[in-house]
Subunit: 278 residues, 4 copies
């Protein structure tokens, strides 16, 4: 299976970049599953069903979220209309929406997409390891697992600390196709296949303008942090966005990864595309 | 000028990798300045003068530190013997050692190396922006700046949050040759030359074994985080290390960067070398 | 019912103070239940079964814990021998020991004691509100509740932030006899009966030497915080300890509180005893 | 000298309580200096010059602030009009306003009032110990200190962690008349005169409605923390406020404290008044 994942989309610059590059990426990579983290797509703060539907129209299958899940308050009442928008798994019981979604991919293959919030330097949440463990035990990876089996598992772990991210990667190693981080808004260059076959990258990086402070206007962010005086509200930078993410190929028998490659296209970052596109 | 920087060296795996790769890197890159962050080189915790001297013997010019500066208590009494070991600038007044060093490079050129601790999700420290600002005002970048001028400025910002790192990059843009992050132990793929000419990378990545939790044994780290019970002390993973860092070329007239390239060699991460080596 | 609670016992000064004052307190207050937070009783770090048994011998019924639960590693293997040592409820599943205990008090009355860790500015833990809610739903307060009913409920919430503590108080109001905080090591003067009948105090205060930094030697703590250099290990201050806590009387029909009074005896703090002792 | 200090005033309930009780407190205590922390007086968020002037009209001499200093943006432009509103000392250089004020009290006596932000679990700030040390070295306590001498020094340390507060108390012991904490919004019962003569209380407690979450409406605070869904903005609780603070008497020869007593009047907390009023 071929999987494409993009990190946190920040504002219009991020949305425009993703939507502009999707046709070529779809044509040349022909992904079976495309997932984007949308937690900053609505002006930097959350997502709406309307914006998610623009992603779906562009060929994206699932929108994941993070600590900004409810920044657009309307989503509390609308998330359940759209099962392909998922919010982190480890919110309190009774939270609207779901923390994972099971999709039908081409050829009758089943794909599980999970979203989870990590905890170091983040808001208090329920144990992400226990939550992910329960989901993985209910959805065994690989052909021949029977009724509960799935052909691919993608986990978007939304978190700050690289230690916790690497530990989550090892915790899932052999049980997921891809464990990829979001939230730092910077792509990491540690994409690798872990020893038991799970593709891993600490952070996919944001889709947005990198001449900024994690996608937001640098002048405002600098004034806020350095002078500690009130400023105008932080809004997304408006230069050309870079689409950041990764591309993974799995072995259909095992569901495990055979390769992971970074993808950075457009905007200010160094450009790199999967070998399949070159 | 040609500058080589390596991120946090973790334990023996990290030291061995750096020392093993240095001869080829020196020969093929011929750097004017080589700097390494050594805060985890002594079994994961701090550095000693003896270990720093092994780096110097291998051709490294300066060892920087971070939040683990004093993990090896002996350094409190010995750091002043060795001005090429620098500790973060924004420790309290009266702290042994210095936060920057001015070196003589080939051809009479002057190079300033600065180490600073950021503050988000870190221990409380004095304002890194004010501290860096004072140093940069006393050491103007570029030929023709007269007595206080320097030919290159390298800033190792040791910090957790990508927002603060990017803000520091912009804060120094046009006043430093390279602003590079350390501490996350994961290389970022956002190396770029900022609009006013400063080379930037959010994190250089660690030099160590990446089949680990930020360089430490993954089994111990996983047990500690997931089960929350006492474990043995975290010690460095022992597999082959990857040397991670970046390579920068500056314009001798301005001191600004003309290029920045990532470097990852050995071990488990995808390999990449500066074009000059290819 | 008459309930006596003491906050974090710190080191020998704290243990000696508690044990010295217990005979008079027992004689003059005649408590039905006495609980102490013992998380710092073993030289400032955790508790052992042996030390807990000294508390039991002095007439204390239950020892609660907190973030220092496992500082004495032996407790991992021994806590299950002694059900009257309880550890926070919201540790991961599979953690040794239990988060609450149900005791038989005089006259066949049943008493539930619960220990829970709050999360703001603390280590990540599972949701304390959900965890406490489950326990309270399984143990209804007040006579005439049938098989699952209990005559008194005491909750030791171990936490840093006063906001979270007050919210936990209101969350339990009407369902517990006493919700009392620990961990700050300073007694608060906000003891009150909440609108629905639960006695509340944000922090009971430590039992230890208050000429200190939260019970530890002030010179070491000051050097560590101000100079940020390595110091000797923090150890408990050794002056005379103050026993700090609160005294609660409940209505046996409802299990709710009719009064809460602070108790501070010995050492440097202003002295205050329940009216019943005067 | 007689000194009266009140902790964080929260909203109208807090302002009304302070202003209603001031006439009796002034008449019966006859204070030489009265200080209030006003950081939450404007609807829970900051203070305005207009509100500060209501405090001054009621007989208060100085308004201190904290982490909410700039919540009312207008204060950035107006604070310099009113030297008796002070903001924390350890903001970055160039911040409007001042971190201390020197007042003339009755009989030609000089009083220094200082405001400082602590750092544990708070926003990054410059070193509070170094900042306070500089001010105390420039203003020696006690008669006969000559030109730079002052007759009383009051320090409002605005902070979260009791450890840091106690360390600051000892750091200033013998050099200040009173070191009192704010920010936790809960009064502590550890008021004492430290060994070298400085009066100390970890937190003065808020002036506001205690049937709340640190002065804010409990229903909103509970929903926000427990359910983690968007709620309406937190606003102050509106029940009768308790005025919380402390009363200190100093020795005019030394400037050191001879007594410190808590004060709690009105509202839901247990009531206590200085002996002088009884
Ligand atoms: Fe994000
Ligand atoms: Fe995020
Ligand atoms: Fe490090
Ligand atoms: Fe570090
Ligand atoms: Fe604790
Ligand atoms: Fe404690
Ligand atoms: Fe406040
Ligand atoms: Fe505050």
């Amino acid at each position: 299976m071929r999987i494409l994942f993009f990190g946190d989309v920040v504002g219009r610059a991020g949305r425009d970049a993703v939507i502009a590059h999707m046709p070529a990426l779809r044509e040349r990579l022909d992904p079976d599953l495309t997932v984007v983290n949308g937690e900053n797509s609505a002006g930097g703060y959350g997502v709406t069903v309307k914006l998610a539907e623009e992603f779906f129209a562009a060929g994206i299958d699932v929108v994941t979220l993070g600590n900004h899940t409810w920044d657009q308050k309307e989503l509390v009442g609308t998330i359940e209309q759209q099962p392909r928008i998922i919010r982190p798994l480890n919110y309190p019981e009774g939270t609207p929406g779901r923390g994972f979604v099971l999709l039908q991919a081409r050829g009758g293959r089943k794909v599980l997409v999970v979203n989870v919030l990590l905890r170091l330097f983040m808001e208090p949440m329920d144990d992400p390891f226990a939550a992910v463990d329960r989901v993985l035990k209910a959805h065994r990876l690989g052909a021949g697992q029977g009724a509960g089996g799935v052909d691919a598992v993608l986990i978007d772990m939304h978190g700050e600390a690289t230690s916790e991210k690497m530990i989550m990667g090892h915790f899932c190693d052999g049980r997921a196709s891809l464990v990829v981080g979001t939230h730092s808004h910077v792509p990491t260059a540690d994409h690798m296949v872990l020893p038991k076959g799970t593709a891993y990258q600490s952070d996919a990086g944001m889709c947005g303008d990198y001449d900024s402070a994690i996608g937001m206007k640098k002048e405002i962010a600098l004034a806020k942090m350095v002078r500690k005086l009130p400023t105008e509200r932080l809004t997304p930078a408006e230069g050309e966005g870079t689409v950041c993410g990764c591309y993974v190929e799995t072995d259909d028998r095992t569901g495990l990864a055979v390769r992971i490659e970074p993808l950075r296209v457009g905007g200010r970052l160094s450009q790199t595309l999967p070998e399949r596109m070159q």
